[in-house]
Symmetry: C3
Subunit: 319 residues, 3 copies
């Protein structure tokens, strides 16, 4: 059969290497569509870091997560080189862990996915784990391998890169433990999340097919978790306007599903601060929490309304 | 009167030459919007062939089909030169046939439409026929001229052009009569088809105006038939991933109307195979059938759910 | 507090200078998104004048009108230099007037906003006035200053710039007092106006947040007034196809709110004609009126259906 129904849990082997095709060229056009969908105002002088992340992620979906039940987490995400308009991105994954669930119907696949530019230089690497269905519940379970993943990326691994300040708040001005309500809310439309997700070449069916999903788990299309990250990140400009570059993704959890019609709010907490070798810049470790249909003035971090808990390092200019 | 209500059937004459204005520059930006709307993953190293087709078609709508009842068919479509970002497209039509319908209220207009680049070189030519209203049902009928149109484009007329393979299935691997279910379905949103259709400068009112259409034939806006072609073509990547270039359009029929909210599925059949002078490439003549709200595992090709029956030549790499 | 709730009426002072950040680069990508959202067919060989206007306007929202009740008017808008893809736009506003309303809860802020290119040359300047809430109704009122603003821009201030004619109607063919029904109507979708408004970096909440607005004045999200200008302007191609460049904005009023689902129609009236120093071009002063869910064959200019009354100078080629 020539059409592809995706890999199932029993198809993966630890150590397996997968080159994702096709490659994807990111242009000024992609950047403009991204801007229109999210309204991101961060000034990064090129392609938004999250557009790079979603594109590399999206390229991997066809091989890794077409039969996913849920995307469980990310770790060790490092943005190594900025991507400029016109760059051709290639992506590759290695299976670094497997663990069948006790019900025998699903298992967790751990992969390390890397994106490369046309010169073969890595622009982004990250680990993720995802729950994948088995095709045949009687297929024997692989030996369990659970990789040891760092709780956060070490500051020494962060790649700095200056951008001009666009607001009053510098790295120096943020305090450990400080919480910031990003105030604004934005309502997600079906056309917006579907266009974004297609822009990323992400083909997971649950985001696109109402005919199937109306009889599925939720009765409607599920919004791609990465879309929620980008919505929340765009909102976070209000209070973090100089955090123009994401240097690393330490972790992330999609706590509850998001659907078209939901209004997303967000707040941030400063988890850590690090100096960088570039003296004019510093890194903030930030927790970005998003909630649906719930303003975030009281900084909610649990309950059915919380949809995202995302941990990353951002680069800011110093005074 | 300075505003334009479009030509009616009695305004056309066989042999009439119409230069369509304005011209249209296709950029990386247009390619990105196209990608976001369809999720097309074919790697053609430039502007998607169907974006070129829709743009040339769209430029012709204002002169040819503003008063159309239905777009009836296409033939002899040949993609002669790839279009690169930045190209300025010009379009021109010749009326090649006319046939008033027996009810005296409408007639069929046959045109040959051509798109040219800034050097005046033809990038695409095709014939289409469309049922157009009369302004005045008492206007005398033109003499009937029905052009002889080829059932399919001869392989010798196909322009080859290599692209790197992105999957395992080469020209050699497809068999005559082989059918491929493209599996996935995608739901069309109003904002998506309206944005696509406007991107093409297609001004046919039935796609945009809910106020009028709520009292019209369908009670809602009709999706541009070409939008359905692009949706189905994007789905066909799953099973035809190396068919990155369309070389010719042999024919096409929009069997039933499509509306926002419909979920489109598609399947393909290999109708013919041809070698090309370029030894590393071959052509497949493919039938692409799309259905609404009906998975295509049983290859449906008739009934109310079938919305498109499209016949084209694609270029694939050979082993 | 690091997040920004916007300036309130009592925060403004006459003479205050505000540099808006961040800057905004307009690319072919932004032009393509704009084209897909509006279907604008005017051929201006660069970035659409209204895309420049909305971008400069949008950059000013965060500082000027985040707490606006209503955008009341524009005047003295002059497009001084065409903007080409790749240009970086900077924006700056000066407060030129203040007038507290008698209810003591709101006041009118008059600003002159200017957009500059990367060489520091002004590309666009305009005055606008907007009703802004007070944070504290007991805050003392500023001294009232109401600037004298011209009813229209003098023809001598208009910057000409030739574009190739794309239709039969030249400057010479339009008569004073002539009215043109643009015939077509287009229905606005939530995803379209939200994407457009985000493209402009316009962060006014009333356009994006259904959760809040469902309990607000209208029970739903309000469409950005500038979106309606662009919709009406795109419709006006039908009858004004050679009016490819906007040279000045004399004034504009958003007479009634517009919501997703509304179908916009438009008509134009020729208010004035002016010769330009460039002999092959002339200027038309046009009134562009838009109505919702009401075809404009009878040229409506008052009542609940009229949503826009816009006065501008366009440049057309002469015979």
């Amino acid at each position: 059969m020539k059409s592809w129904a995706g890999n199932f849990f029993e198809d993966f082997r630890v150590g397996q290497q997968i080159a994702h095709v096709p490659s994807r060229t990111l242009t000024d056009g992609d950047a403009a569509v991204y801007k229109a969908i999210y309204g991101a105002r961060f000034d990064h002088g090129g392609i938004d870091d999250l557009l790079v992340f979603h594109t590399v992620f999206g390229m991997s979906v066809n091989d890794i997560s077409l039969n996913a039940v849920a995307n469980l987490g990310y770790a060790e995400g490092v943005f190594r080189r900025p991507v400029v308009p016109g760059a051709v991105l290639h992506a590759h994954s290695e299976v670094i862990g497997l663990k069948q669930n006790s019900d025998g119907r699903t298992g967790i696949v751990y992969v390390r996915t890397r994106g490369f530019d046309d010169e073969g230089k890595e622009v982004l690497g990250y680990a993720r784990w995802v729950m994948v269905r088995k095709r045949d519940i009687d297929a024997p379970a692989s030996e369990t391998v659970v990789p040891a993943l760092a709780k956060s990326v070490m500051p020494a691994a962060l790649v700095s890169g200056s951008t001009a300040p666009v607001g009053d708040h510098f790295w120096d001005d943020y305090q450990l433990g400080e919480k910031i309500d990003h105030i604004d809310g934005t309502t997600i439309e079906e056309a917006e999340h579907a266009m974004a997700t297609r822009l990323y070449h992400n083909t997971a069916r649950v985001h696109f097919n109402l005919f199937t999903e109306k009889d599925g788990r939720f009765g409607k299309r599920l919004v791609y978790g990465g879309h929620v990250i980008s919505v929340a990140r765009a909102l976070s400009f209000n209070g973090l306007e100089n955090a123009s570059r994401i240097a690393a993704i330490n972790g992330g959890r999609h706590s509850n599903p998001v659907f078209a019609g939901d209004t997303i709010y967000a707040w941030s907490e400063v988890l850590d601060k690090a100096e960088l070798s570039a003296r004019d810049q510093g890194a903030l470790r930030l927790r970005l929490v998003a909630a649906k249909n719930l303003p975030c003035g009281s900084f909610p971090d649990q309950g059915d309304s919380v949809v995202l808990d995302f941990d990353y390092w951002a680069i800011l200019p110093r005074r």
